[in-house]
């Protein structure tokens, strides 16, 4: 250990991708693994803990059992949650997210949040967490994000290691952004849903997923082929998404509804709303904040596509009683056909009264 490689925080940078020897091995098979202190650590305004668990099992409507992994919040009575529990913070807060990895190595990448390299959760340019690490960041753009493990990512993300992340403005939930102007456009909402859309290929969950490092050192485990048979929103199988209250929403006339849509699948999502919606934000950046963009109005039944990891936020006002249907189709990344011979569709609704 050379003195000039160890920072005042006590981190030996040569044991990370920051100043370590980056070669073909550290890039993929033998990635840097450490449990360093957080550089430039501040006193947090809000803190979270995420404990890795790998014992999840979902029972599909057809009786099939699907293994999955998750980030658990030790303070939350819900064990092996799927998707992992929401992280909700406010613009300008110093956020700490402490990862406890259990027996294997993992990371957390706060997707769309743009912190320093050490806090970005990508092993080959920084490190994978051996035992524990506290990620630090301070969000500057209120919007919709998510977090996921970035080790052997094709597998760990597919196995369920992800959850929603919402940044509210300082005013808190109910507001999309701060404004000195009263009744600023597209600023308030009364009804909110985050739709985390996922697809599962049982081969990945029950066969490849038996090995946490599957494929990592060169074995062909067939992770270039993904043919999902199960389609979920917020952990609810598509057989039940139409009415399950984890997904479907109710609104009163006059209320403004905000739908935060996240594609956590490996399909192209094609979503259609049976009402006119306004896209107010994409990938956590508000449309209309700067001079070069503006909110987009999509007339009812316009197909809107988003690829894996993209987020779009939609706003509409409930104006008359009735049911507003929403259809989400999961399309194959090469053929663009609806997955699983046309069965890859999840429908839900917003009931206005």
């Amino acid at each position: 250990m050379c003195a000039d490689t160890v920072s005042s925080s006590g981190i030996d940078w040569t044991k990370t991708g920051v100043k370590g020897d980056t070669n073909f091995q550290t890039f993929g098979c033998n990635v840097f693994q450490e449990s360093p202190p957080t550089p430039d650590r501040l006193t947090p305004d809000i803190s979270f803990v995420r404990q890795v668990v790998s014992s999840g099992q979902l029972t599909a409507p057809n009786g099939a059992r699907l293994r999955y992994w998750a980030f658990e919040d030790p303070a939350n009575p819900v064990k092996t949650p799927y998707p992992s529990p929401l992280i909700r913070v406010r613009e300008g807060q110093v956020v700490h997210v402490k990862l406890l990895t259990a027996k294997n190595q993992h990371t957390i990448h706060h997707h769309g949040i743009e912190p320093s390299t050490m806090n970005d959760g990508v092993g080959h340019v920084s490190f994978e967490v051996k035992n524990e690490y506290t990620y630090q960041w301070k969000p500057s753009n209120p919007g919709t994000y998510f977090y996921h493990c970035h080790r052997n990512t094709p597998l760990h993300f597919e196995m369920g290691m992800f959850g929603g992340l919402i940044v509210d403005p300082p005013e808190g939930p109910g507001y999309l952004y701060s404004s000195p102007v009263q009744n600023a456009p597209n600023q308030r909402y009364q009804v909110e849903r985050l739709w985390v859309c996922d697809d599962m290929d049982i081969r990945w969950h029950n066969v490849i997923g038996q090995n946490h490092d599957a494929g990592q050192c060169g074995e062909n485990v067939g992770m270039n082929r993904f043919e999902p048979q199960y389609f979920l929103i917020n952990g609810v199988f598509n057989n039940y998404t139409l009415t399950d209250q984890k997904v479907a929403a109710t609104a009163r006339i006059g209320e403004t509804v905000l739908i935060r849509l996240l594609n956590a699948s490996y399909s192209i999502l094609r979503v259609t709303f049976q009402t006119t919606v306004t896209c107010v934000s994409c990938d956590g950046h508000r449309l209309g904040k700067e001079a070069w963009n503006a909110p987009i109005v999509f007339p009812a039944n316009t197909p809107i596509e988003l690829t894996s990891a993209a987020r779009l936020d939609f706003l509409f006002k409930a104006t008359r009683p009735g049911v507003i249907g929403v259809k989400i189709e999961f399309l194959h990344w090469i053929t663009r056909r609806v997955q699983d011979y046309g069965r890859g569709v999840a429908k839900t609704q917003i009931v206005v009264s």
């Binding site: 743009e114 320093s116 080959h124 993300f157 990592q216 062909n220 070069w292």
Partner: protein
Amino acid sequence: MDRRDFIKIGAGATTVTLAAAAQQFITPQATPLAVVTPPPSPMSLSTLSTTVAERQLVIEPVEKEMIDGKMVYMVFYFLTTGQAQPPLRYREGDLVSISITNNDIVPHGFAITGIPQATIAAIPPGETRLVPSFAAPVGGSYLYHDPYDAPLNRILGLHGAFIVDPALGTTVAGSPTPFSRAMHTPQIAAVFDAFGRHPRFPGDSWKPQDPARDKLWLFSQTDSTINARAAAGVRISGQALIDAFLPDYFHINGLSGFDTAVHTSTASADLAAAEAIEPVGRQGQPTLLRVMNAGLCTHSAHIHGNHLFECTEPDASGVPYCETNVYERDVWIMRPMDRKDMLLPFERPPDIPVWPPKQEPFPLRYVMHCHTEMSQTAGGGNYPQGLVTHWKMTSPIYTF
């Protein structure tokens, strides 16, 4: 050959030796045409002259080494200098003159999306054809490819970037852009005018003459089984190919994973190509990324560290246009044959609490990868040896 053994053997040698050894793995099976006039360096800006020396492209089948060491049959357009899949660069209004020689044993062709007159439907084996002469159109990014037996030959490797610099690219306020002024929208002008003026973007305007500020990311995918069958004379194309396509290698400018960026000790298989991919600069040096997808997958490109500005895309006829709503994205969709010019602002990563960092050293490094994660594999595993690279911020603009 096992790729990891190859690297281990090469590690003791000089990087020059390693690069030379790696070059052997892109070797035309026949001797290319004799070099007549070396064409200008393809990524350098062309001169103001309106006539440009004829460029000669040669179609050759090759055996190319994948990132895991597997040798795969591919077919490339080569410059007579030996460069495969060369970017072709012109200035708007230049008279473009290109000849294509087909050294393969099956027919091939040539086309540029968005420039329909620049088409050769078929070149018989062993023959040379001239691309009908045309004037380089409005400034932007185009894709040339082989339309014969589509999309098979394109997938086998017959594609490359065709880049046009604008005759007049500045905004009315004088900011340089890579797009002809006639194409500009108020929103595109607002983005390019923001650099060096907007409080978010202290630093430089975009620098059109600096290759470090102008990058090509040409995505492609290879299905080694389809390629092997094509080499054996079993050729499928059209919808049958799309239905059968199961890619096992994923590339940026023909490189994958480790090879797409510059590393401390072990060199990429093609260091110059890696340097051409990896954006490097300090805060306040906005960089253009000409992103194209020559393959059959829809990619979900995702970048860490900064959101990107989505500046252009092609219309239904393939002609690029400037957006009237410039989204700031960390994920952008790249369908087959999409071309999107994205601007990486090199702004302060907005969610770092202490700026500049006191304990964490520069450079800050951030990955770009496709989030449809099957693309992060090579040969069915090997994460992250697929469509991934990273960019590097070397310093803040000011230190305190």
